[in-house]
């Protein structure tokens, strides 16, 4: 019997199909892992209570506190009453329903998308959901990982399934070898600039090609993380030896015969040779520069060697209007060299770039160097465990000697739900994923950058790449 060749996303869909929808009704898919945090879960638990329902699979559900948590004085009560109430509600709800939680102070507390992989609970071939758009991060392991809304959180809690309409597939082929100082973050910023923030709408993206294959798991997570910034429902990378190597020995990784069985299955999780994607995009990794954003959406980015674009050169009237608005908000003049843009704050953190490898690559650049006087640098590890590991490796000392602020784990300045915010008009080079107006504080101006660009910027005081330092 000849079978239709399938893409990786289609295989995962097939392997989790509980009920096929008829007459336009959605398919019902089984969910292997449900991650929970304090912001999008309280009403879901309340809904369960109102309907007299229980969490169907407590052992496939895990919670952590991240969005609201402070990154200093974590032993003190949370000051903001709304934040405190949300965190307390999560603690109460997980206790009442018997769901595992990693609270502030615990070594596995941290950003939900850093904690899953670090525990080895994110594995290839899974369906993973969380009430958070950056759930796409977990797709780096070859899983189908999606952000969902609060009603869907309640639905998954109660049924461990989700009704979903099938989506289209897009291959993002990245071939070649990255030059020194160019990293995964630059690949994804270039992808988004190419296909635009709406280009991925309705698609699951599969990142392929030699440049992706040679990335570490951390790098792949950075790329999948920002799939949502291209409008996609999810992003994924097929698992390979690098994936298996990363997982082996982690707390929740299978062992012994289970490991062998798992790897055997994981190896089948490849897009079939003759499978057809609904769309394909090609990126040349050989010629990629460090990428930075100049505007107020992640698609408004250019090479760090370029200048602030001139809206008059943009033919699409909507994009032109958006560029004009963005430049005004960002207080930038067309033609200004990106490298001449002076920043006030450097934020190294978020679920995009706050894993141990990100901290290492930034530390390597700043080691023995002096911070520009006017720069405030904040380093917020993605999880408490990353923090501890960094301290074991002495990275904290490098950051502190440099004059950076060494913080506790959480989302922090990525969205400014806790006190870590930019002042109005303040300009930041940030390793996070969103440069929307007001995202990092009211009136705050954000340039998205990679960890090494963040580090070089902290040294020079203007947007800079590591290669600028050697001169």
């Amino acid at each position: 019997m000849s079978q239709k060749p399938l893409t990786l996303a289609e295989k995962l869909w097939r392997d989790h199909l509980v009920v096929k929808g008829e007459n336009g009704a959605p398919d019902l898919l089984y969910i292997d892992l449900h991650l929970i945090h304090e912001v999008t879960s309280p009403q879901a638990f309340d809904g369960l209570r109102l309907a007299g329902r229980d969490v169907r699979r407590k052992e496939l559900t895990i919670a952590t506190e991240d969005h609201n948590t402070p990154t200093t004085d974590i032993h003190l009560p949370i000051v903001d009453p709304t934040s405190r109430a949300q965190v307390q509600a999560l603690r109460d709800n997980t206790k009442e329903f018997g769901v595992r939680i990693h609270s502030l102070g615990d070594k596995n507390q941290g950003i939900v998308h850093v904690v899953g992989p670090q525990l080895g609970i994110t594995q290839p071939g899974m369906t993973i959901v969380c009430g958070d758009s950056h759930t796409s991060t977990h797709g780096a392991f070859g899983s189908l990982a999606m952000g969902i809304g609060t009603s869907e959180v309640e639905h998954v809690l109660a049924t461990q399934t989700l009704p979903l309409q099938p989506f289209k597939t897009m291959a993002i082929n990245v071939e070649g070898t990255l030059r020194p100082g160019v990293s995964a973050k630059d690949i994804i910023l270039a992808v988004i600039a190419k296909i635009s923030t709406g280009g991925g709408q309705g698609y699951v993206l599969e990142y392929r090609g030699s440049a992706i294959r040679s990335l570490s798991m951390e790098g792949r997570m950075t790329i999948c993380n920002m799939s949502i910034e291209a409008g996609a429902r999810a992003g994924m990378v097929a698992p390979d030896e690098i994936t298996f190597e990363y997982l082996k020995g982690r707390p929740h990784a299978p062992e012994g015969a289970d490991w062998d069985a798992a790897v055997e299955y994981w190896k089948t999780l490849q897009t079939d040779e003759d499978a057809v994607f609904d769309a394909e995009v090609f990126i040349d990794a050989d010629n990629l520069d460090p990428f930075v954003t100049w505007g107020t959406n992640p698609g408004q980015g250019v090479s760090l060697l370029d200048s602030v674009p001139n809206p008059d050169d943009i033919s699409d009237p909507n994009e032109k209007a958006a560029a004009l608005r963005a430049l005004e908000y960002m207080d930038l003049v067309p033609g200004t060299k990106m490298k001449d843009i002076k920043v006030d704050t450097v934020f190294l953190g978020s679920c995009t770039n706050a894993r141990i490898e990100d901290l290492r690559s930034a530390a390597e650049i700043i080691q023995g160097k002096k911070k520009a006087d006017h720069i405030r640098m904040m380093v917020v590890p993605g999880s408490q465990k990353v923090r501890l590991q960094a301290e074991e490796e002495g990275l904290d000392k490098i950051f502190k000697d440099f004059g950076a602020d060494w913080r506790f784990a959480g989302c922090s300045m990525c969205l400014g739900m806790n006190p870590d915010q930019l002042a109005p008009g303040e300009r930041a080079a940030s390793t996070s994923n969103r440069n929307f107006e007001g995202r990092q504080g009211k009136g705050a101006r954000t340039h998205l950058v990679s960890p090494v660009v963040a580090a070089a910027t902290a040294i020079r005081g203007t947007l800079s790449s590591p290669s600028d330092l050697e001169k």
């Binding site: 509980v18 009920v19 019902l28 089984y30 292997d32 892992l33 309280p42 009403q43 309340d46 809904g47 109102l50 309907a51 329902r53 699979r57 407590k58 052992e59 496939l60 559900t61 895990i62 709304t82 109430a85 949300q86 509600a89 595992r100 596995n108 525990l119 080895g120 609970i121 594995q123 899974m126 609060t150 009603s151 309640e154 639905h155 109660a158 049924t159 461990q160 399934t161 009704p163 707390p251 929740h252 990784a253 299978p254 289970d258 490991w259 069985a261 798992a262 299955y265």
Partner: protein, 200 residues
């Protein structure tokens, strides 16, 4: 969710068009951590005005609302439906609803029925003639009886079915409980569990 069939209740007019969700419930009420208790936020800004229809004694305890066209536009917040429901409304009628609002209503057990503009005016006139009137909503036959007046309303078949059966999204999925259980029975045993593992 409660099954809905035929019910009677006090009917109130909301003689405004383009009632967006920010008017139905202003953003400051969205910070809650519960799914109920949003009645205080319903039309919060308008209710500061003593003349506002829902502040008038003859409309206290209203369960049926008849509004102008383009009801529920704007932000997709589900809280708009929660606020109407928590305030005591079981049905809202308008000649035009925003799609997302209508979808959210069906999911939360609130009838969002479409009536013609002429019927809207006719119902308003009937209420004006006799404020404090009770109306009967008959979901199976898609009719509203207001005094002498009989008006039919539109609602899609799927939403009508789920409202008459009292099924929320979860209830609908749980009709496939056997298929879910069978899927679970066949899952590989090595798939990860969140129960505490080595050292965590």
């Amino acid at each position: 969710m409660e099954k809905i069939s035929v019910f009677s209740g006090l009917i109130a007019p909301l003689k405004r068009s383009n009632v967006d969700t920010d008017q139905i419930i202003p953003a400051v009420y969205l910070k809650r951590i519960t799914k109920t208790g949003f009645e205080d936020g319903l039309f919060a800004n308008w209710r500061q005005d003593p003349e506002f229809v829902l502040n008038q004694p003859q409309f206290q305890g209203a369960q049926i609302l008849v509004a102008g066209p383009d009801f529920g536009t704007g932000s997709s917040r589900e809280h708009a439906v929660w606020a109407l429901r928590d305030f005591g409304f079981k049905a809202v009628f308008s000649s035009k609803f925003a799609d997302i609002f209508r979808g959210n209503s069906g999911k939360q057990g609130l009838i969002a029925g479409v009536i013609s503009e002429a019927d809207t005016e006719a119902i308003w006139a009937a209420i004006d003639a006799e404020p404090g009137l009770n109306a009967t909503v008959d979901l199976p036959s898609q009719k509203i009886l207001v005094g002498e007046l009989e008006v039919s309303f539109e609602i899609d078949e799927y939403t009508k079915w789920r409202l008459t059966e009292g099924l929320d999204d979860i209830g609908i999925t749980l009709q496939n409980e056997a298929a879910i259980a069978e899927f679970e029975a066949n899952r590989a045993s090595w798939k990860p569990k969140t129960l505490p593992a080595k050292g965590v």
